[in-house]
């Protein structure tokens, strides 16, 4: 298990983009983690005075981000020293099914497993549940480690 301290040490993400609260289990090729959704999330800061139920659904794509960060913790552990000084990036994803919305008060559980690793690229699959019910099916997400300086913002163009 990893507490929030361990999660924070494993991922470079920070508020408001750190979306794993606790790792329940981590093995050689799989990981389980949880993300709790609260009404105090920044995404709800700009709600109008009388939001409807749909307005309080947690943003779907952040659930995918949260799942991917879970897989990223496993990827970082598997990469070991090779991940030092590198940035972990999403390469691609496919076959992501969204089964239901989640709301403040829900706790989401992510399951990710390593399908394949080729050089510096890892392919993960899995699912997420909320209260035991299906939330996400993740067909495939590809992540790669790249040198940080290869991703630096472009220098301003001189005129």
């Amino acid at each position: 298990m990893l507490t929030a301290v361990g999660v924070r040490a494993a991922l470079p993400h920070r508020y408001p983009m750190l979306m794993v609260d606790r790792v329940l289990e981590i093995g050689d090729d799989h990981i389980r983690a949880v993300k709790a959704v609260t009404l105090n999330e920044p995404w709800y800061a700009r709600l109008g005075p009388s939001p409807g139920d749909d307005d309080l659904a947690y943003p779907d794509f952040l659930l995918i981000e949260s799942w991917t960060q879970t897989a990223g913790i496993l990827a970082t552990r598997l990469a070991g020293d090779a991940a030092d000084g590198q940035v972990m990036l999403f390469g691609s994803m496919s076959g992501i099914d969204l089964h239901r919305p989640v709301f403040p008060g829900d706790t989401v559980e992510h399951h990710a497993r390593l399908e394949r690793a080729v050089n510096d690229t890892m392919i993960f699959a899995g699912e997420s549940t909320v209260g035991g019910a299906p939330l996400l099916t993740i067909g495939q997400i590809t992540m790669a480690f790249r040198p940080g300086d290869a991703l630096a913002p472009p220098a301003p163009q001189g005129s």
Binding site: P12, P59, L62, L98, P154
Partner: protein, 133 residues
């Protein structure tokens, strides 16, 4: 509104309807400024616009140019997404959307680019909600 991205999608083209295929197309631009809240944590001292936020820009643009179907459309799946280059503060995204009917679903395919070239391709699947009584 609930959202991860401050920037608005500004329409620059369409929506246009192709009678033969049933497709709808539209074009947008989205200016990503350093004021986006996600940059604070993605990553500190190293701002990269998160891939899921690129997807959110696509979603907002697409839903503002959704085909006129009875009962509305609800996002059901991300069929595929490829991230081709990083998006940074100050980039202006161009987003080209194509909605295509697929039986009871609609597919939304999008190409996203910055001034440096292609940034992402995204395919979403929407379910048509039941028609009201």
């Amino acid at each position: 509104m609930t959202g991860t991205v401050l920037a608005a999608a500004r329409p620059v083209r369409g929506p246009a309807h192709d009678e033969d295929s049933g497709a709808w197309t539209a074009g947008f631009t989205v200016t990503i400024t350093e004021d986006e809240p996600v940059f604070a944590g993605h990553y500190p001292d190293f701002p990269i616009f998160p891939g899921v936020c690129v997807m959110e820009c696509v979603r907002r643009a697409a839903e503002s140019a959704a085909p006129p179907v009875t009962g509305g459309l609800r996002l059901a799946a991300v069929e595929s997404t490829r991230f081709l280059s990083a998006v940074h503060p100050g980039d202006e995204l161009t987003v080209d959307i194509t909605w295509s009917p697929r039986g009871e679903h609609w597919r939304c395919a999008a190409k996203v680019a910055t001034g440096r070239g292609p940034a992402a391709s995204v395919r979403l699947r929407y379910r048509q909600e039941g028609t009201p009584c």
